[in-house]
Structure formats: C-alpha cells, structure tokens
Assembly symmetry: C2
Homo-oligomer: 248 residues x 2
C-alpha cells in the first residue's frame, strides 16, 4: 500500500494511492483510519510529506562507503533531526546563504507505526509502519564547526521525505540512487547498512521511546553531492519511488 | 500568571494557578484558551509537565562557570532534545543502568508562545510565552563517547520541566539553585548567561522555526552534580518555584 498526505481544494488530508487515484482517509495510515469516500486524481493533488512526525532521528556512519577514514561504529550512532525541518516532495530545499557547503544525502526512511520502548531485536520490525525516501540535507561547515549538528542537519526544509510511505515491502535489499540535476551522485543498496533496521530500532528504543509517525533516516553512502540554488535533487529507491526537490 | 498542566479524576487538563486553586482552561496558556469552569484544589491535582512541546533545544556552554577549559562560544550553541524525554515535577528520572555517570543540570527554560522564523533581536522577546524550571539530565559517558548527544541528553525522563510556566517576569536577573538531596550543587544567576535569551531566540530562528510550546533550556552553570537512584533532585528559580524529581 502507498500512503500519502496531500493538499487538494485548499485542505490537507491523508490518503491511499490506488493506481492514478488517491482515496482520502481519516488519519495517517498507521492509525485506525477509515476511507472518507472522497477521491481525487493523483495528478490533481499536491503531495505533502506523507507523515507528521513528533520526532525524527538519522543514523551517522551507517554505510561503509561513507566512513572514509572513520572506523565502523560498534553500535548505531543516531542523532536527532527537528520536526520543523520536514519537507515534502516538490518542496523547495532552502540553501542558507551563510553556509559554505550544503550536501544532499539519499537515504531510506523508516516510519514507526507502533510505540516502541525497549523492544527486542526479534520484535523490532513489528513496530515499523513503512518506508519512504529521504534526503538528510547537511551543511558541512556547520557540521564541522558547531558543538552539535542542530542547524547542520535540521535547518528548515533540511528533511524532505516522500513521495509516499510504502508498506509491506522487504527493506533489506533496496537500491538507493541520489541524483543531482539528473546525474547519479550516490548509489547503494540497503543490504550494505552496517547496523540494520531491527538493530537500529531495538537500540534506540532501549533509551528513547519511538512513537507512531516517528521517522528514522537510516544513513547515507559514499560521498554526498553538493547542492546549490537552482539544482534539482532526487532520491530514488526501488519498490518505493522518487523524492524530488528543487533547491532555492 | 502561573500555567500548569495537571491530572485530576483520571483526565488531563491545562490550568491557571490562583492561590491554592487550579482553574481548568481549554488549552495551553499560549493558545486562545478559555476557562472551562472546573476548579480543583492545587493540593488535589497531580502536576504534569506544563507544556507539550513539539521540539526542545538546550544551550551548551552558556555560563562562564560551566566552560572549565573551553573557550566562550562566539555564537549560541544549541542542541536538540527529544520531546519524548519530557517529564514533569514529581516524575521519576530513570537513571539508565548502563551509564556510568548521570548528572543533573539546573536551568531556566524559555517557553515559546508565538511562531518565530528569522526574528530580530528586538522582536525576539515578543515570541516568548513564559518561563519554567528545567533539568537537563546528562549521561556524561555517552556525551563523551557517542557521535551525538541523543541518548546522553534525551533518554526517556531526561528533560523534567515544571512545576509551572510563569508569565510576565523579567528573566534577566533570576537566581537558579540546583540541589541534590537538599544540598546545593549549583548556584547561578541568569544575568551570567553568555548569550542572552533574545540573542538565543533570534539566532535559532534564523535557521529553525520555533513554534508555540517549543522549549529552550538556557544552559547550566558550574559543575553539575551526579545523581543516582534514590536521590531527590531539585531546581529552584526565584519568581518561578521548584521542580522536584526523585531518581529511580
């Protein structure tokens, strides 16, 4: 199933994509929703970020190809992203004028469906609702120079997620491609993750409760590409789709 | 005015403290609330954290006495705290069994009342709703050893705020005392902040939109004291009150 959030006729709604149609539902897909009866042509709606998370985390150093000279981390290395940095497909990523270098990072995003506190490895996947494409936009000068990564990773519009959440797929063998102006900048497969999704969820939930709608960016590969105003940046993941943003 | 959130008779509500009485209101104090007509004796209700923030930030290195050998930061140095780490007065701070050293940090908390995006120094205080006492609980081994401070500063129950939000006070000359088992561990005055509240709000809002209910812990002084299961930890701020928690 493909779950979206969309704007149509001046109001916002969650929905399910069925071919070329969107069926509106009463709440997010991970809640106890029902179809409202309203339908729209997919081409007629504006897609929003498909989730309204209370909390987002992202994984540092989770692909060997992104480690460069760093050692592989012994445990998952999450960091927090602010919920105000969320953006949807089609939204403009605003490149701050006072950062020297902003990169795009193509990543698989896990959306939590059920509250997770101290869950075991074996139970972790029961708490997943679905998967989306994410771009963990990163201002490298601030990442290097600030005490924390707050504005480096969480400036407004620095967390695009979309175009939808796909449920019922196996996340362990998905191809991820990041493109800038149509040219491939990053390529990897989710099988290359150092700490996989069950380990990540189980480890985080040992310390921090994960709630329905919370999002986890699962890490990026290789060397991320720099983005500048005017660029088009895409994150395509097999079995999910393509998240596309213009930089402004 | 003193704004609270409380539990009484099995349901939760926001309210205003009037002497020994709590008057229930229809929403948080910073919204367009009205009194519901319900009143309770303050002694009969269980106080909850007085705010339900979407986002919390805290300031690193914002008191000279806490810098030790570090240089004073040229700009505010925020970091994110997760909203799931929130706790209220009277709640138990859960000390993780696998951290070697957990400290309490007594801090003034600023609660945002109006959305702030790129606000000037001169306009910053118009976006403040009020002030509360906060404890920026910190696991020092994780703070030193992890890539980010996610679990060091945002494990469940690591962000007590309370007992209420006080509005209409001058935040520039408030005494803060942190106590562990009744013994003073930290003493400072908010006049000692390196980067004051207008500068902090203006700087954060240049990059990250602040929303009503968002909380900013404004930094801690001196050397914070270690807390262990069984300890009582208090944060008292003049003109506000005392936040009290037991560690478990």
């Amino acid at each position: 199933m493909k779950f979206v959030r969309f704007s149509a006729g001046g109001s916002n709604s969650y929905g399910i994509v069925d071919g070329d149609t969107v069926k509106a539902i009463s709440g997010p897909g991970y809640s106890d929703y029902s179809e409202t009866g309203a339908t729209h042509a997919l081409a007629d709606v504006t897609l929003l970020a498909p989730v309204e998370p209370n909390k987002m985390l992202a994984m540092a150093l989770n692909y060997g190809s992104h480690l460069h000279d760093a050692p592989a981390p012994e445990r998952p290395e999450p960091f927090l992203k602010s919920e105000t940095s969320l953006a949807g497909t089609g939204d403009t990523i605003r490149i701050p004028s006072d950062s020297e270098k902003v990169d795009a990072e193509a990543e698989l995003v896990v959306v939590i469906g059920k509250t997770a506190t101290n869950v075991s490895l074996g139970d972790a996947m029961d708490h997943v609702f679905g998967y989306s494409c994410g771009n963990d936009v990163s201002a490298r000068d601030w990442q290097a120079g600030d005490t924390s990564w707050w504005r480096a990773k969480s400036s407004d519009t620095f967390s695009p997620i979309g175009p939808w959440i796909v449920t019922g797929i196996d996340p362990t063998n998905l191809d991820i491609e990041g493109r800038i102006n149509g040219v491939a900048a990053q390529n990897c497969n989710t099988s290359e993750m150092i700490h996989d999704i069950p380990k990540t969820i189980s480890f985080i939930s040992k310390y921090m409760t994960l709630e329905p709608g919370d999002c986890i960016f699962t890490g990026t590969s290789g060397t991320a590409g720099q983005i500048k105003p005017g660029d088009t940046v895409e994150v395509e993941i097999s079995q999910i789709g393509t998240l596309s943003n213009i930089c402004g």
